[in-house]
Every structure is written in C-alpha cells, then in structure tokens.
Symmetry: C2
Subunit: 385 residues, 2 copies
C-alpha cells in the first residue's frame, strides 16, 4: 500500500527512527530538517511497499555513511545524495524509478526521503537492516546476493568517487570507509542499485511506516502516562519484529566514547534501580547489553536506550553521566537470526566472542514496573510546572 | 621521431630512470622485470615523441602511486594498470591510442611501457614531471590545465575506484592517496587522459630516450673510468635540462626514514671527503640538500645520490649507513622554474620554508675531483680481482 508522508509526520518519524537506530544511525534531527525543507519546497513524499514494485523497477538507495559523532557537527550541504544517485544512474546507464533507505534507523531513514522529494521519486517503504548497523555490508540485500557496488560517494564540493568491488560488499565497506574518513568522517552515498524484483525479495518491508508508528507510540505513551513496552508492543503487533521487553531501568553512571576507524566506539555503564549493573557496548549502535555478568541482549536483536523522563531515544553520541534511562530490547526480524543472517549481523561480525542468545528481560514484575513508571512520569510533570 | 625499445635496453633504461627518480619514484627493477616479460610476450614497444602526435590522439597515461618503501615489498600482479586504462576508457567512452608516463623517474618510467606492450599501444616519449615527484598534482600537465581526473585505481583483486575532482588535481591526489593507503600503500592508476594536442603542449619531451641515454652514460662512465659529471653532461647536451654538477663526494653517516601519510619520509646525513657535512631531506624524492648550513640544491632541481663505487643511483629506501656516494644536481627544465611552475614544484609545495635558489656546486677543482675518482674506480677494480 502506498502512503504519503507530510511535514507534520516528521517529528514522530524522527523519534521512531532514533529508536530503530538502536543508539546509532546518527541523530535523525538534522535529517528531519532536510526532509521538512524538501517537502515544503517540492511537495509531500509518496512511500511504496516493496510488494507493490514492478519487477523491472529501478531502485537506487541513498544513504549517509560515517561516525554519528561526526554527523552531529559536519552537516551535509543538501545536494550530495541527489548528486550521488545521478552519478550512479549515469555510470550504470539506467534511470531510477525509486530511491530507498539502506537502514531505517537514525538519519538514514531521512536521507532517501529528502532525495525522493527533490527528484520527485517515490520512496520504497522498506530497508536492508530493519534497524541501524554500523557497516555497509550488513544488509539483507547482501543476504539475497544484491551487489552493493558500484557505490558512489558525492561530496559537498561536487566531487565524486565510484567504488566497484563486484560481489564483495564487505570490501566495498572497507574502501568506502577509507574514503569517508578522508572526507572528514561523513559522506553521502548511492549504492545497492537493484531491480524491483530484488527489492521485493530482499528488503525488510514497511519499516518507515513502522518508525512513524513507533515514534507516535512513544509520544503518546509519554502524554498518556502509559508503560513504554505496552505502547511499543501495540505498534509492533503484526510486524516482522518480536515483542519489546525491558532490560533495565536506572541511570547512566559512566560513558567511554571515542571516534576511531571512522566509527563511534565505546561503552556505557548503567546502574539499575533494583541494584543490577549493566554494560552496553557500542560501535555506532548498541551491540551487547551485559547485566550482572550475563548477556541480556546481543546483536542482531535491537537494544534501545530511552530517556525515562521524556521517552525520547538516546543515541550513543548523546549518552551522558546521570541520565535516567530505560533499556529496551526487541527480537530482530527472523531472517537475521538464521545461520546466514547471523554471519552478516551476528555477534562475530562485530568481533564479539559470544553466540547469539535470546533476550533476557528485566525480572521486575510488570505491574511493579508500570506503577513505578507512572509515578515517575507524574514526577516529571510536576517538575515541568 | 619514433623509436623501438628492446629487452636489451631495459637495464640502461632502469638505471637512467632511477637517476631521474632523484631518490624516489620507486626502484625501477621490479618495473624492468615487468616490461621485459611484456616485451618477450607481446613484442618490442614503439615510443613516439609528443610532437609526432595527431592533435586528436587519445592519450591515457598509466602509473603507480605509493610509498617506495612499500613498492619494494608489494609487487603488482601485472594486470592492474591495463585494467585501470580499460575502466577509464569505458568511463569516458573513448579508445586510447597511446599511453604515457606521468613521471619519467623510477618505476613510473616502466609501468606505461608494460601497458603499451600488453595492449599494443605506442607509448608517448615524454612525461609530466621530467623526473619523479611524490604527489599526483605535481605535473606540467597541471600547469597547462589538463584535468588529472577522472582517475581510476585498479587493484590486484579486480576491484576499481574512479575519482572525479574536476579541475582540482591536488584534491585528486588527496583522495587517491587515502584510497592507496587503504589498499596497502601502493596502487596502479590511469589518469590525466588528454588529447594529442594537450600532450604536445604540456609534456616534457623525450624523457624516456633521455633516461636510456643517461643510464647508458652511467654504465659507460664506470666501464671507462670517466668522470661522472662529464658523462652525464654529454647525455644532457641539447636537452631541456641544465648541466650536471657535483654537490658532494663522501659517505652516508646516518639515515632517518619512516613511512607516513603514504610517503617515505626522512633525511640522510652525509660526510664529505673534504670535511663538509650535508643533510638531504626526502619525501619519496630528495627535496633539499643543505651543505654546511647552506642550501646547495632544492626542488624542482634534481638531487641525485649515486654510489661512488658502482655509479648506480641509490633510491631513498635503499640508503644505508656507510655507503660511499656522490651527490649530483641538475637544473630542472626551465618551465618548472617559472612562477607558475614553482607554485606546483617549488620548495613551498613541499612545505619547505625556503625560496628556490640556484645549485651551488662542490668547490673541489675539477682536476682534483677527476683524479680522485679515477683512483677510486681503480681501487674498486683491484678489490674485485
């Protein structure tokens, strides 16, 4: 089903995209401003489910690459991704009928929307990660044999770089990363050019609509003093994702963070209200949550840190000492949890020496958690007066 | 005038190319083996003076990029430069009629010869440096407004990268360097695609023939116990270069060398037989020779360190404590010594805080120098018995 995205939807969409960013993907706020500007200038954007695509449609995804900590400071000029798509069209001798996100989390939910608006192209409502991941080969597209290259990087100066690595999407990541680092740690791309048939087979469907729905649910949960997991699970019902559960409620007691190899790397130490201790390690995104020495959740499952006060997702580059937070986890779409999927998205793909294990939710009874949350939202309201 | 290069010419050509490498450009020995193999397989190579080119000829130069210290260890598979030329042809929608060196010093005198042999293309006898320089924008082609990009890097794995930076050849260098570092510190390129008319206007002519002649002169000087500068000046007579003079005769007392930013950087400390002290600073190539606190020679003039025993040029990555050497200098072609030329090739282009100043030759009277050299060659012959 196709649907139309309007300016009024963007703040909910950005919140949902930050949630699916699982700590990474870059803060979608800059992207939100880009898309709002593009819609005001060019009109609303049409989104199309993968299953509506003609088999011979020509889909050229657009995206941003880099360390989220750099993306906060190096703002795109605006034309880069449009240029990248045009260069890739010329290089391949094709004309794009659609653009598409390569990841639905963070700023990359927004980049193709701005491109779609500027070029009058419908945007495929789906992506290749179903969340955010730090590396370009970590795509369901890879799982289905779609070549990421030729990949085009276009710069704010009008220069471009075309990278061709055949079927080797991991090598494409390595070369594009080197170039992105040289360009200041952030770049805009066109890659994973594919047919409608390929997009239909390989994309995780309807993830932009889901970001919008989850972003709205988070806002409404805050407004209505609703338990976070209940609100989320209403949105997730009927999707390819499992049910959300809570891993921890507490506060941030320490953050280590560095920009290295073109990534934002580090870990957050969290203290639970119930006395439990948690460490969340991240490479742009949250990769693993260890509670009291045990794995509570690990990639490809989604680990999301949410402000306990505002219900806004907190990205890894914005984690600070003293923040009151909830840590939530959601099982990934089943395709990512197969043997082939884990080879691309699983712990070892990130150098983590763990097997994938199911999410271990917080042990606090649901009713207790709920009353505690309600009390806290109430306290926040009090302090806002 | 066109001429034919044969396998028997290659060791003299390699010696001359190492000389014009002015310490850098990579040891031409590996290139010599590549060209010998290509000639044996495909037949001799035709070289063509720039002034013989049709105006609408399509010249696509081929070259190697990287730190000479890496080139000693990371040997090309052989097909990379041929692939790069083919990718650039396809990207531009043209068919090359010729290939050409971008620098005549070091291994880059050899790369286009191997490509020419493999593809049956004549090679333009000329280049854009008239020696070796460390960076891609340091070309007489740049001086005449030829765009270096689109530039193609092809790897031993069959991958390629196309870099487009419009008229900005320095930016092309920066992006290609980042990619070359990621590829292990060495890469093979096609760049500076140009018409016959552009090559005619911008190339330093007949530098491959001159490398061959100088390489032969060095060998004959050794065989005939002739003074080095006399032999060189016979070869250089009538060329665009000035007369060779000697800066120092002595030995290497210290070498500092590191691979950094994709270059071989460092300096050599030399002690003269006459008690003088010299420091030669290099970035791949020898940039400046300071004798007893005074500049004796500086870029773009050529500073060459030659083994006093064998008359073989010594590249910066092969300088060792204790080597007996002569340091020679040759004024660059006049085009490089103009205001526009010095902006590209002069001291400040290398971050050296010096003005260009004329070469200050060794003060030892010629007759004394000659007798000392003859004596030494004699000594060497004695020890070889």
């Amino acid at each position: 089903m196709s649907w139309v995205l309007r300016v009024d939807d963007l703040s909910d969409l950005a919140r949902g995209a930050a949630f699916f960013g699982t700590g990474g993907g870059g803060d979608p706020y800059v992207g939100q401003l880009m898309v709002a500007g593009a819609i005001r200038r060019y009109g609303p954007i049409t989104l199309v489910s993968p299953d509506e695509l003609d088999d011979d449609a020509q889909v050229i995804p657009t995206s941003m690459m880099g360390a989220p900590s750099v993306m906060m400071e190096k703002i795109p000029a605006g034309h880069e991704a449009v240029t990248a798509l045009g260069v890739l069209e010329a290089h391949l001798g094709v004309t794009a009928t659609h653009t598409m996100p390569v990841e639905c989390g963070g700023i990359n939910s927004m980049v193709p929307l701005a491109v779609g608006a500027a070029l009058g192209l419908p945007v495929v409502d789906g992506d290749g990660m179903g969340r955010a991941f730090p590396e370009l080969q970590m795509e369901t597209f890879t799982l289905f044999g779609v070549h990421g290259s030729p990949l085009v990087i276009a710069t704010e100066r009008g220069e471009h770089v075309i990278i061709e690595t055949g079927a080797d999407n991991r090598r494409m990541e390595e070369l594009a990363r080197a170039m992105t680092i040289r360009l200041g740690g952030m770049s805009l791309l066109a890659s994973y050019s594919m047919t409608g048939a390929q997009a239909k087979a390989s994309a995780i469907p309807n993830t932009i609509a889901l970001c919008l729905s989850v972003g709205r649910a988070l806002r409404e949960a805050r407004e209505n003093h609703e338990t976070l997991t209940d609100a989320l699970n209403r949105s997730l019902a009927g999707s390819v994702y499992g049910r959300a559960s809570r891993l921890l409620k507490g506060k941030v007691v320490d953050v280590e963070r560095r920009t290295e190899r073109g990534f934002t790397l580090g870990l957050a130490r969290l203290a639970g209200e119930d006395g439990s201790q948690m460490e969340v390690t991240f490479q742009n995104e949250n990769l693993i949550a260890i509670r009291d020495g045990e794995v509570a959740a690990i990639v490809p499952d989604l680990i999301c840190i949410i402000s306990a006060d505002s219900y806004e997702p907190i990205t890894t580059e914005r984690l600070r000492y003293g923040q009151r937070i909830q840590v939530l986890a959601i099982p990934s779409p089943p395709i990512m949890n197969t043997t082939a999927g884990l080879a691309i998205f699983g712990p070892r793909a990130f150098g983590l020496d763990y097997k994938h294990s199911p999410i271990k939710a917080d042990l606090v009874p649901v009713s207790a958690a709920r009353s505690s949350e309600e009390e806290q939202v109430h306290t926040m309201k009090e302090t806002q007066r």
